[in-house]
Amino acid sequence: MAARLLQGSDAVAQAAIAAGCRFFSGYPMLPFTDLLESMARRMAAAGGVCMNAETEIEAVNMTLGAAAAGARSATGSCGQGIALMQEAIAEAALNEVPFVVFNMARGQQDYFQATRGGGWGDYRTICLAPKDVVEAVEHTQLLFHLADQYRSPVMMYGDYLISHTYMSVEVDPIDFGPLPPKDWALDGSRGGTGRSRQIWTWAMGKANDPGPGPDLHWQRIAEKFDGVARLEQRWESKWCDDAETVIVSFGTAAPFVEQVVGELRDDGVRVGTFRPISLWPFPEKPLAEACASASRVLVFEVNAGQMIDDVRLAVAGRAPVTPLGRVSIDFSGMRQGEILTVPWIRDRVRQVIREVTV
């Protein structure tokens, strides 16, 4: 399929349908609203269902039900809406129902919410943060695959720039390889045969076929997430081999930082850039390696300092870690904050390099 100029939300909607998504449910909230509207326009023609749910709690629980019934399913929201969904995201992680959550956040202030979650129990959520619409189209399809591969809810961390920016993209189905059969999904067909199925966070099983119970079941899930943490780290780094200074940023902020770093290198400053693509699992070791020659690590994020915790854990005291960003909200329509510009970041990097002597 040839590249077409698409709004980010519509590109994500088309990518989800190309990935086989046939159930979508959401509640309007900017900048997620555009994705819901695109799904409402496109899903019926694809033979699927799009629900304008009455609350975010109902949206995510409908999605959980559809996914438990075997359909590739998704929901989404942002900020407060994602907060309401955390109960069911945790539940789905613990009863192993796979679906995708499109978190079209209002800026970068929801990093903790996306990577730590607010649900109950020992669970994790794979979270990918695309830098632009082209990557969002790829991540959308990859997330459906990862959800099914690990039988777990997964999240995209998007924002206004992902949702509203137009880019020229190709939306073709991507083959990520074979997946285990969904023989656990409920369709009612095995009732009365002695082999009926059950989805239950406690995994108690049936009287004629007892399950492992919560202790073993949750321990097995914890081990599953240990494996995900090892196998599913994604990142991108540039100019780190000789860098005295490494700047870490995520999502749509990263291209701004990369532009600044390129300009500084033209000026002879030995600076590199590192971008976690998977916010969880955080690419801890790759970041440590990227910072091996660095005497200072800077973190640019448009918030009061959230990802910097993960950066500090990765760097583990080998170099000072300094925040570049701050809380910054504007009403331009993109709500990315006034600090998200190349001149602001460039001035701030130069200032910090002068101040943080090593």
Binding site: A66, A68, G188, G192, W200
Partner: protein
């Protein structure tokens, strides 16, 4: 051991007969509890309507949750209050399945009132069953949104008083007022007559949902002598003397 070797006296033998689709008679429910009767009605209805290989149960949190282990039906156990929303997703993916929810009054009237009303208003073609004993039995006897005026619980020690605690929510009546609801009935399980009627309600609800006429809802008043802090044998009389006055039995809509 076969029947001839049974150690149970003859008048207890009926209790050894499992309901259709029931995998085991082992359960953790208290003496005098009404839930097992409601379970039996549900399983008999599914069996008699030949729905066992297309039924999917979506179950809330309460003493009744153990039906997930005990019945040979596909089950999805849900977060407290959310079963109708989950069942909506299941039904939209499998439109020909007999999707039903099983919840208590804590699940429906307290935590999940939005979910049940919105699902009814959308006219989802499912059958929702609410076991109403007016108390949080599983957590040891606290007040729910369906506890009746005067009812003593651990959080309404001198009885539910409207001034302090408000009034019980008549869920079935609220649902009956919604155009999306095709069938609404309220039954009970405290005597043979009410049990027979309630079974007819449950079967009717499954039939109407299968016809695609809309949302169907059956409230079943059940005894909870433990949570009512009464002697076991007093459960049926208390149900009739108090709950039935607040929640009158019968068909409220359709059928």
């Amino acid at each position: 051991m076969n029947d001839s070797q049974s150690l149970l006296p003859p008048n207890r033998k009926v209790a050894t007969a499992l309901a259709p689709l029931q995998l085991s008679g082992e359960h953790h429910l208290c003496p005098g509890c009404g839930h097992p009767v409601a379970w039996r009605l549900l399983l008999e209805a599914i069996s008699e309507l030949h729905l066992e290989n297309k039924a999917i149960g979506v179950v809330g949190h309460g003493c009744y949750t153990n039906i997930v282990q005990l019945a040979d039906i596909d089950f999805l156990q849900c977060l407290h209050g959310r079963a109708p929303a989950v069942a909506t997703g299941v039904k939209r993916v499998h439109p020909d399945a007999a999707v039903f929810t099983l919840q208590g009054d804590g699940d429906v009237a307290s935590e999940g009132l939005a979910e049940i009303l919105h699902t009814a208003a959308r006219g989802e073609r499912i059958t929702a069953i609410m076991l109403n004993n007016g108390v949080f039995g599983d957590t040891g006897g606290q007040m729910t949104a369906a506890s009746v005026v005067g009812q003593r619980t651990k959080t309404s020690l001198d009885g539910r008083e409207p001034e302090a605690h408000g009034y019980p929510v008549p869920v079935a009546d609220l649902i009956a007022s919604l155009p999306g609801a095709a069938y609404v009935a309220r039954g009970a399980v405290h005597n043979a007559g009410s049990i027979a009627k309630t079974k007819r309600y449950v079967k009717k609800a499954f039939e109407i949902a299968a016809q695609g006429d809309g949302f169907t809802f059956v409230e079943v008043l059940t005894m909870c002598p433990t949570g009512w802090f009464l002697p076991t044998a007093d459960g049926p009389d208390y149900l009739e003397g108090t709950f039935e006055k607040t929640f009158p039995l019968g068909v409220l809509k359709g059928g």
